[in-house]
Symmetry: C2
Amino acid sequence: MSARLAIGIDIGGTKVAGGVVDENGVIVHRTRRDTPHRSTSPSVVENTIVEAVDDLLARVDHDDIVAVGIGAAGFVAVDRATVVFAPHLSWRNEPLRDALAARIAFPVTVDNDANAAAWAEATYGAARGESHVVMITLGTGIGGALIIDHQVQRGRNGIAGEFGHMQIVPNGIRCECGNRGCWEQYASGNALVREASAMMHAGSPVVADLLTKLDGDPAGLSGPFITEAARGGDAMARELLADIGEWLGIGMANLAAAFDPGLFVIGGGVSAAGEMLIGPAREAFRRQLTGRGYRPEARIVRAVLGGDAGLIGAAELARADQ
Amino acid sequence: MSARLAIGIDIGGTKVAGGVVDENGVIVHRTRRDTPHRSTSPSVVENTIVEAVDDLLARVDHDDIVAVGIGAAGFVAVDRATVVFAPHLSWRNEPLRDALAARIAFPVTVDNDANAAAWAEATYGAARGESHVVMITLGTGIGGALIIDHQVQRGRNGIAGEFGHMQIVPNGIRCECGNRGCWEQYASGNALVREASAMMHAGSPVVADLLTKLDGDPAGLSGPFITEAARGGDAMARELLADIGEWLGIGMANLAAAFDPGLFVIGGGVSAAGEMLIGPAREAFRRQLTGRGYRPEARIVRAVLGGDAGLIGAAELARADQ
């Protein structure tokens, strides 16, 4: 009897993470590469994916592999074959599935990376057993996914879940998407770094300790740096996390008004800040939820699969199709 | 062979509209009552519903009736039996279905009024054939409903679709729900009246013509009055409609980011303004939609069933359960 293993490949803005995933959601082999720069042609990214898959295939019995799933940061059409638009890559209406199918001897499916992460958390992680889930991945921006009746919802054209581009502040901060005031400009790693950087460039004393830790160079700022400083007790770093937590809670209250989920799962790199972020988010959510006091309140928890969620979910979604 | 007729009762803030609906969505008998004031006890509203049903039953062969559906403006639990909270009525965790079942000799189901209206538009109206639909009913506030894969989505607890209480302006105008900046404070009949009234009380010359039509008394202001004046060419009335249209479009772009529907249907009393409202809404939507130019755009159309949508949909949802 074959093992029904699946390969998952998670293509992010900076790295391509791959793994062979067994039927218990365990990653039994791993591989990792840098994401080609967005200025390179689509075929370079394809080559990187194929190399990662070949690397993994060299370590397993091919009879045990049933499918290859790709999770990509971008708009994936509802046919789960075409990447319509990927802001961090050169794909524009890229027929990724068919291009890969010609080079990989297994069925290939493509999905949005946040959909994949949500599916992993629903199958093996923080959202097990929950029927109605909103997944929010906080990285440089905000990724999102929606599970209703235990199914990932992709929308009419495959582009549902772009919560980070809901306008939360009229005439607010400009977003890469071309709009102003998008949620991800207020509740993301980019927001953390932008705010700290602005204060450093203004010479504010409240970030003097942080700046000393960076040897005086604001260019070294990052989300993980601020989280680490907050963990070490830096008051301003804690305030910055609480501020994005508050915006996170306000946005979640909006999503609760619209979807009425039973659970929010907070993943992505910034979620490493844990309760320093999620505590203020929960508080803002409770203060902002419409009908509060007259309705059950959704739970808000941290994702448990960390950076592996995307590749595990991509593998699961591909296996489920076979 | 019996006719499989269903009775639908739509309980709004001001009126109770009832009808016998045939299998083609045609209302074959009608009845209508005032909604009891919110200060009265739940049993008074029940009496009103029972009277409306009895009035309709007196006009049909009882063997032809298969079910009675109630559409109510409020949070209806996912069991479709309990009204958790109704802002305009005295219901708080009211077991409406069971209370009515004891007095009505047919199966009774309860649903949110916007869900009912959306289902009517999906079955017989503007949303026929569409798999992913957002329904927005613009009255004094904003009601909403979500259809995914041809099914009304109620959320984990039955409270999905409260789009009107998504915050669109931080620290914005106070809403009856207790929050500030809710969408319905900017894109609804109340917003129209509030803005015109403020200008009248300030003695602004731009509303002088409107005030003359009201014999100098701003208390006569209403959504229909402003729509009528706009139709007659009043420039300020047209601007007011365009302003709420713009907020409508911005909010729809947010919902498109989250759900990716194929169609928005705009219903409710304010939608009578037609293109004076929907034109500016469409324009704002297109300017604000994230990924515009890289994705298919949802269509935005006016509802076609008018004030009958709620009762037709309530009847349909009840019949579908039998």
